[in-house]
């Protein structure tokens, strides 16, 4: 794994792509070793908001010189980031976390499932699965409250299915409704989204004999595995904590759904 670094990078461009959803490309050599499902920590410049904000990597450009993050403005830190412009500086730490392993999808029918702000990390995964070309099929099943984002990006790499809570696009309801309504069949799920969605996926995978890899989220401080702030309960004793409390930032954020108690 590449060495973690804290660097000052350059904002290449930033756009608001849906209400409070920002899409930023960052020029940084951290892109060189970035894996789908990994994240970076972004440091606010405001000294009152000190802790880094973990944000998933949405995409890496072909030359591996830029990272794309797509995030929701949720507080002071992300509000500050949303004001960054082309050419401005952004302080980041990365690349962090284990990420998804694309080999696991070889020969299988893959469901890439994203919910809300859990949609972005699935894009680089869709892209890499497409380039790897070993999956039998790749379906991107994306859930939104009402406003869609990134859907067009996914179309180039996967069969797209959408669910919205208000039914304004695709299936009415959740990603699970989209699976039922379209009668989708798969062998493996890779997912990121809110906890109720991940719980539903864990159960669905167990009921249907599917493998599932889910990306978890928790309040973080250090982001590098030192502070033990962001743990999740695991089924078995893990190698680090020895108390079934694995670190999401370092041992995760992607876990085999069978191995975590959520």
């Amino acid at each position: 794994m590449a060495q973690k670094k804290k660097v000052v990078a350059k904002v290449f461009r930033q756009d608001e792509i849906a209400t409070d959803i920002y899409d930023m490309w960052i020029e940084t050599d951290l892109a060189k070793d970035a894996k789908p499902g990994q994240f970076i920590s972004v440091y606010p410049k405001n000294k009152a908001t000190l802790l880094p904000r973990p944000i998933s990597i949405c995409e890496v450009n072909e030359e591996k010189t830029m990272l794309r993050i797509v995030y929701r403005v949720a507080g002071q830190g992300t509000a500050e980031f949303s004001g960054y412009h082309t050419g401005g500086e952004i302080t980041i730490l990365g690349t962090l976390g284990n990420g998804f392993s694309t080999e696991k999808a070889d020969g299988k029918r893959v469901f890439l499932m994203g919910g809300g702000i859990g949609v972005p990390p699935m894009l680089q995964l869709a892209k890499e699965l497409k380039f790897r070309g070993k999956a039998q099929s790749v379906s991107a099943i994306l859930g939104y409250r009402n406003e869609l984002f990134l859907c067009d990006d996914f179309k180039s790499y996967a069969d797209l299915y959408v669910a919205t809570e208000d039914g304004s696009s695709g299936s009415k309801g959740t990603v699970m409704d989209a699976i039922r309504e379209n009668d989708l069949k798969g062998d493996i799920i890779m997912a990121c989204g809110p906890m109720p969605m991940l719980r539903a996926i864990k159960k669905f995978a167990e009921d249907n004999g599917m493998e599932a890899y889910i990306s978890l989220e928790e309040r973080m401080a250090c982001g590098v595995g030192a502070c033990l702030g962001c743990v999740c309960t695991t089924k078995e004793v893990d190698h680090h904590s020895h108390v079934k409390n694995a670190r999401i930032c370092t041992d995760g954020p992607v876990y085999d759904a069978k191995e975590v108690m959520i």
Partner: protein, 300 residues
């Protein structure tokens, strides 16, 4: 130029250490900084048996700082000795092990287990605000603090540092009690108990409801307490609480600390420890200070 300081006969190449719980046992930050450059690594608290810690969320940001309620999650002394102490042996830095427990017997068990290990000093955590039994209960009552200090001193092979809580009426009373019971040094301050409420969810930000506050926002409280304690006892002090850089570190040293620890700032700047070491040297050069010991407690 001399940056060496001595605490209870242990010589440190410089006065910069890591605050317990913010640096693991150095493995994670070894990717960012050369651990050989640090005065000491103070490890995450370790108990006689594994502790699972508190439920999440365990951390929350506050203005200029943060709250944590990790609850001293640790793998227990056996894993710690085999893995963490083995790791630290590769480095030319002093090792201070932070010890936690629920009863005096728990603490003593860890202290005795470490007798023949490569450990330079012991830091006794009697001030963690996030666990229900033990820990802070010993640190908020002078009699209890005196008793546990004396018991540990009886068994400890290494010099003993008692880590004090700021969550008391008069910290000098605690400091004097620890000194009278035989403590070789004191470290202060542990975190300040705080609370944060998420008004949108009408819920506590931390699952534990309360947490320990750290970060730059608490620094003036810590400097004041270091100054008070330095003028109340004759044993050395390791000062900590919101230190972000060399300027902050020197402030603590001038208030009376022989050494300093960087805590929450590691999360914000993973290079903070080594930058502080370098910044202290630069300050000494600029001000013509030949020996760091000249400025310990120089502000009266």
């Amino acid at each position: 130029m001399n940056t060496k300081v001595t605490i209870a006969g242990v010589e440190f190449k410089n006065p910069v250490m890591t605050a317990s719980g913010t640096f693991g046992s150095g493995m994670e930050y070894g990717e960012f900084v050369d651990l050989n450059k640090l005065g000491a690594v103070v490890t995450k608290g370790v108990a006689n048996v594994p502790w699972p810690g508190n439920p999440t969320p365990r951390v929350a940001e506050t203005y200029g700082g943060m709250l944590n309620a990790i609850g001293l999650q640790n793998p227990g002394i056996e894993v710690f000795v085999e893995r963490d102490l083995e790791f630290l042996k590769q480095y030319d830095t002093k090792v201070i092990v932070n010890v936690c427990g629920k009863s005096i017997e728990d603490y003593v068990e860890v202290v005795e287990r470490l007798s023949d290990e490569a450990v330079d000093m012991l830091e006794i955590n009697v001030s963690c605000p996030n666990v229900k039994e033990g820990a802070i209960a010993f640190g908020q009552n002078a009699k209890a603090l005196s008793e546990i200090t004396a018991e540990i001193k009886k068994k400890a092979k290494q010099p003993v540092i008692m880590k004090l809580s700021p969550n008391v009426t008069d910290i000098t009373e605690m400091a004097k009690a620890a000194e009278a019971a035989g403590a070789d040094a004191l470290s202060l301050i542990n975190t300040i108990t705080g609370m944060k409420i998420d008004i949108h969810r009408r819920a506590f930000a931390l699952a534990n409801k309360t947490g320990g506050m750290s970060g730059p926002a608490i620094k003036p409280v810590a400097v004041r307490m270091v100054y008070q304690v330095a003028n109340a006892v004759n044993i050395p002090i390791i000062g900590m609480g919101g230190i972000a850089n060399a300027e902050d570190a020197i402030e603590f040293i001038m208030a009376g600390a022989t050494a300093v620890s960087i805590g929450a700032m590691n999360f914000i700047n993973p290079y903070a420890t080594v930058e502080t070491v370098e910044g202290i040297e630069k300050f000494m050069q600029e001000k013509g200070i030949a020996d760091i010991n000249e400025i310990i407690g120089c502000v009266k």
